[in-house]
Symmetry: C2
Subunit: 310 residues, 2 copies
């Protein structure tokens, strides 16, 4: 038996250290990761994945802690993955979050981990959806995926979730900011957190107005309010997530599964092609092209085509 197969057997028995090692394999990528994923993929597909996104400072981490509490109150196990933009300099996750994620680590029914999400060429070889497959395969019925930022890459990340929770705050730029950031169309459930602050009613009203302004949809995203610090509203929020989970048992769920399968296969092709290009392209030719591009004797697009042709 190779290394990961032993680890997988242990992880399936509930060994969290083995699970952590499997996720490190996935994060590292390469051939072992591919074999691991091929092995576990048939076991996955039963977890409900909840994506949590929203602007920095909206209280996503605190709310995720409350949601974990809700899942645990129902006695289900839950994994929480904080998808962290690795800095172009440090390449690392932010220590503060790693620490915060430890809050519930004493509960063996909770597994928390932060994970870098950035590939060599801008977020492509994203380990998060692969980590979700592993967590799903080892039996977590709920997986919470939290993003740090709120941008395009983060929208991509939550697209791998079944239920996307968008967390906003009262008065956060009059909801128009949520629209600008592309959040209105990706959310299945909206929550105005820090609802003990002024302006909560108008933010909720604005959101409801904007969400119901478009074409009619089979699922109407509810807008809830929470005070994550105290836990107020967390139970109703979790009920809304469960409602959406229930909704996905029908045709809607099949559409989501199909969209996600297409997305994963495309991303995987993409990643393979980029890896291949990195292997195939001659370093000396690359350096020579770069020198020409810097001197503006050659444009980057022609340079790329020539490098790939050779």
């Amino acid at each position: 038996m190779s290394g990961f197969e032993e680890l997988l057997a242990s992880a399936l028995d509930g060994d969290r250290r083995a699970l952590a090692k499997l996720l490190t394999i996935v994060e590292r990528g390469g051939e072992e990761s591919r074999r691991l994923l091929a092995t576990v993929y048939p076991r996955a597909g039963t977890a409900h994945v909840v994506g949590v996104t929203g602007p920095p400072g909206a209280g996503k981490s605190t709310l995720v802690n409350q949601l974990i509490g809700q899942v645990r109150a129902g006695d289900d196990e839950v994994a929480a993955l904080l998808v962290d933009p690795s800095s172009p300099f440090s390449g690392g996750a932010i220590l503060g979050d790693r620490i915060r994620m430890q809050d519930r680590v004493s509960d063996p029914g909770v597994y928390a981990r932060s994970m870098a999400s950035r590939g060599q060429l801008g977020g492509v070889s994203d380990a998060a959806p692969k980590a979700v497959v592993v967590l799903d395969a080892v039996g977590f019925p709920y997986i919470v995926l939290e993003t740090v930022g709120v941008g395009q890459a983060e929208v991509d990340i939550v697209e791998s979730a079944h239920t996307t929770l968008v967390v906003l705050n009262p008065g956060w730029g009059d909801s128009i900011q949520a629209a600008k950031a592309g959040l209105l169309e990706i959310g299945d459930v909206f929550v105005v957190n820090k609802a003990d602050r002024p302006g909560v009613e108008s933010t909720v009203a604005d959101l409801n107005h904007m969400l119901h302004d478009g074409p009619e949809r089979a699922w109407t995203p509810p807008v809830l309010t929470t005070v994550a610090q105290t836990g107020e509203g967390a139970d109703a929020l979790w009920d809304a997530v469960r409602d959406h989970q229930q909704y996905l048992t029908g045709e809607a769920g099949e559409a989501v599964a199909r969209r996600q399968a297409e997305r994963e296969v495309r991303l995987a092709m993409h990643e393979l092609l980029v890896q291949r290009a990195e292997q195939v392209v001659d370093q000396a030719a690359f350096e020579a092209s770069i020198a020409e591009v810097i001197a503006r004797r050659l444009d980057p697009w022609t340079a790329a085509a020539e490098l790939l042709r050779s």
Copy 2:
């Protein structure tokens, strides 16, 4: 002469409608875009590109308007590009910003445009850096690149700028949020906007503390304050941008040019490979693979490898 060459000649003569059509060609992509870029690339390389990023609602657009005013006070022309996440549903830019960008359109020395930034596979075939090449080539000495969100893709976008301006607000999560979003390491100039609100001193102090906490750098990012609504501090902010521009005339500028050339060539290779894959992969084979993946008889990574092999 083909279409774009006539347009280019007109755009070089200051025809904004011709310029708009060139940018549409770039946005559309494909062979004409590639020929256009190859043609204009040797003319580009003199503009100073200022990237503006920060959380939604921080006042980036208002601040960009003020910066445009500063550039115009010095009688230079300026182009402003709002890089907009296209929604996965609408595929479009947000109308509100298009309108807001029109504020200064009556000034012929200002060209403003919003532009979608999302490729088919998640932000890869990003038109923004290409639009910058065109704007640079037709002679704008300053180009301001504003992002809507604040996530990984946005960090990538501002990496194509020479000077990156990070816009925060007083008390915005105690600057730790800026660190979490990976903003501290990408900013060349930091500005705490809405500085008429409480908490500005502590936010500035926190930022200064965090920015000076790391290894010593040749350029120490200054932390300024503005009230974009009134224009307070905009002149000092523009001076800081100019200082950074001056700093880049040395070795630091060569390093930036090199990094950007490498980045553009890599991204261009990446984009070409993805396009090729889309052309090469047989649609029926793709559909068959997706069905297997949905049924969990095949994992997406093996499916991708098989599709690319055939």
